[in-house]
Amino acid sequence: MQITLRNPTRTVEVKGPMSVQKLMNRLKVNRESVLVISNGALVPGDAQLPDSAAVEIRSVISGG
């Protein structure tokens, strides 16, 4: 899977398939602080991400 993270924008490769929750744990990302978008669609925590997925982990925290 190709994983894009934001702020700062960077890309990492992770072997799939894998659930969203496992991916969050692997990347040490707090689920409360991000949205997970797989192939352009929002996915919940129990969704399985195939190895071919293009995943965006979008930070939702703003400075206010």
Binding site: R6, N7, N30, R31, E32, S33, V34, L35, I37, A41, L42, V43, P44, G45, D46, A47, R58, S59, V60, I61, S62, G63, G64
Partner: protein
């Protein structure tokens, strides 16, 4: 995961509500939460003209859309802060949103109207950029809402914003600030009525709302806000929230329910002691308000900015040295 309402496939799980939603019912959930906040706190009356402060970020664009969906008359107000490419991009998102949705947008540019921008103004006034920015925006928001005869000024502060501000104020026991952290601030001479209809929705929910409804918003963080204290508070609260869903809601809404009134007398007394600014007439504790003072310092500093003095060059050199060292180690 199944949608709590229709049992279709869920696209988002909200642990603090112990609920999952499909796209359609998540959008309805967001609208219902805003409608409930407006009703519970009597934020906007039927027939009110609202002015929504919009930045190009997810929260302000979303609340503008939601208010219109709920049938309110709402114009947008965008303040050009002059923070380089970031401000240019943000303005573009706002203008495209207004045009695509056929909405009325009011624009105020700090450089054009007041002769300064946030990066230079904050430096000249020796204020932290976020402090100068917040103060400038508040002044421009108030003035635009009062001058435009709007009944209410709406901001996109969400649950996370309010919980983080409360967290910071409690950590330092800033009791004067605690007394004014309310979702509705009534109008007073020089100040419009101000409301925060997103206090029941978390930051993650607002971002999801934008993705689902196709609201294109600025994704980059303001370069001047990166690493600020407010973001640190949000991260700290999210570290608790992930272990104990609902904590942010209970912290903030519990404060409103049980503690906020206790701090009001101090705040009310401070409000009663306000004078009119000798320069712009806005309410202030001093002869000249903080905003006019910032404008004076920022504009007086313009020639210095265009032609740096030797000591300024020295300061700049000094400030770049540690960063270079850091990168090489």
């Amino acid at each position: 995961m199944k949608c709590r309402v229709c049992r279709g496939s869920a696209i988002i799980d909200l642990r603090r509500h112990n609920a999952n939603f499909c796209a359609e019912h998540f959008v309805k959930f967001c609208h219902d939460q805003v409608a409930r906040a407006i009703k519970d706190h009597k934020m906007i009356a039927s027939g009110d003209r609202a002015l929504v402060a919009v930045s190009g970020g997810k929260d302000s664009l979303a609340i503008w859309r939601i208010l219109r969906e709920l049938g309110y008359e709402a114009d947008g107000l965008y303040v050009g802060l002059g923070i380089g490419e970031y401000s240019e991009d943000s303005g573009g998102y706002v203008r495209r949103f207004a045009e695509a949705n056929d909405l009325n947008l009011v624009e105020v540019d700090l450089r054009r109207e007041y002769g300064y921008d946030i990066p230079h103004g904050s430096r000249a006034a020796r204020r932290a950029p976020c402090s100068a920015c917040g103060m400038s925006k508040r002044h421009v928001f108030d003035k635009a809402a009062v001058d435009g005869n709007y009944d209410v000024l709406v901001t996109g502060h969400n649950l996370d914003d309010e919980a983080a501000v409360l967290f910071g104020n409690v950590l330092r026991w800033q009791t004067d600030y605690l007394g004014r952290q309310e979702p509705v601030l009534e109008a007073r001479p020089g100040f419009p009525r101000k409301v925060k209809p997103l206090i029941r929705l978390a930051e993650r929910e607002m971002a999801a709302y934008c993705v689902i409804t196709g609201i294109d918003y600025v994704l980059d963080e303001c370069p001047m806000a990166v690493g600020n204290r407010h973001i640190g508070y949000k991260e700290a609260l999210n570290a608790i929230e992930v272990q104990s869903p609902g904590t942010k809601h209970d912290f903030y809404h519990g404060f409103l329910r049980s503690a906020s009134a206790k701090f009001k007398p101090e705040t009310d007394a401070a409000r009663d002691a306000l004078n009119d600014c000798q320069s712009c007439g806005a309410p202030t504790t001093n002869e000249v308000c903080a905003f006019c003072s910032l404008v004076e310092r920022a504009t007086a500093a313009q020639p210095v900015r265009l032609s740096p003095r030797p000591e300024r060059e020295k300061r700049q050199k000094k400030s770049t040295t540690p960063a270079t060292d850091e990168r090489t180690t």
